[in-house]
């Protein structure tokens, strides 16, 4: 992290706005973003160099500044993009569960919603193309040791996700699982998913990707079913 060049004055050349401009510019912008998502997915903020991203995107270095201001700006853009992707993937199910929670709900129904939510999350996380799996690593890294994008990812993904899951767990056990206890278990369940993605290296690729995912889902469903007899 060499130059931290205190930026006293406002930047002379303002960065390209995300919307206006020529079409080619828009394309380049997304090219950079995609490359950055891939590279930042597998390596932390400081590990990645701007030149590395530029090369991966097939552009030159100043283009990065032109489109995103600086390295951190690009990193934050990645975080926001990741949030959007998660919303596309599991936002629907999450919203339905959130709405359902506003009314009374019997335990069996809560368990059903919980299964739907975690199944959707499992599929979204584990069936993503291997180049897309980096986004989970990105989130995990920021949550585990906060970097520039922590606020965004924690506030938009992690906290709401845990809270929703915890509430469903509370209903699923007819309140026998206290609120903090529900959070503990929510974190464990979600961590078992995201952690699986990183730790699966031990498993022979032969096992079959889809089979693994189904096994993961089975395990989660069993846990949820077991809640009935807590």
């Amino acid at each position: 992290m060499p130059p931290s060049k205190a930026r006293k004055t406002a930047r002379t050349i303002p960065l390209r706005p995300a919307d206006g401009g020529y079409r080619k510019g828009e394309e380049t912008r997304t090219r950079i973003l995609r490359a950055a998502l891939e590279v930042f997915g597998n390596n932390g903020f400081e590990t990645v160099t701007t030149r590395q991203i530029a090369e991966a995107a097939g552009i030159n270095l100043p283009a990065l500044t032109y489109y995103f201001g600086n390295k951190e700006g690009l990193y934050l853009a990645c975080a926001r993009s990741i949030v959007d992707t998660f919303r596309e993937g599991v936002g629907r199910v999450a919203s339905e569960a959130t709405i359902a929670l506003r009314q009374p709900m019997d335990a069996a129904n809560a368990r059903k919603l919980l299964k739907q939510l975690l199944t959707a999350l499992a599929r979204f996380l584990l069936l993503a193309s291997s180049s897309d799996q980096g986004r989970t690593l990105f989130v995990r890294r920021e949550i585990a040791s906060p970097g520039p994008a922590f606020e965004i990812l924690y506030g938009e993904l992690w906290q709401p996700g845990i809270e929703l899951t915890a509430q469903l767990l509370n209903r699923a056990t007819s309140g026998r699982l206290s609120e903090p206890a529900g959070k503990v278990r929510a974190i464990m369940m979600i961590a078992s998913l995201t952690g699986f993605q990183s730790g699966r290296r031990v498993i022979a690729r032969a096992a079959g990707d889809a089979d693994q995912v189904e096994e993961v889902i089975s395990a989660l469903h069993e846990q949820i079913d077991a809640l009935a007899s807590i």
Copy 2:
């Protein structure tokens, strides 16, 4: 990562051997190692600067070279130290389980060993002083996106840990859980532990640290009990 200074010739001044030397030197060595463990625990390899470690250890920069050769040497020393600590913490239980596996074992007994193993791991991970918790982050980081210490941590901790757990799961279900399926679940269980440590921020500190750990253990025990009726 500025100078990568190709080291053609052998180092002129050999690094201080880990054993011989004066007593003061030995103390300094461990001071540096402890500081590095703390700093590398919370930040990745490239994020951490050697000056940062030197300051944390209260020594000057060349001392780092003198004792560990270079940044990577220190990082690897941290990894080896972490392996040792894990062995102190859960090696006993793990060894017992490994030995027991050499003979036939009924499912109930396998579940008992599994509970012992995971309980020990949970206590070791989650009841560590907050400055010691960094070691789990260290391991998680290396497993998730391999760095200089991957080989050590994967080979000495992750793989054997997963494999042992998977075998116990296999016995605990009287073979109904196939070998790959067992590995999937082993990874999930262990990831739920290590991930909990990182993701627990959401939970109000008020909840009480020890209570959280007991809740984690309860959840694991329930999962293990549920194996009986798979």
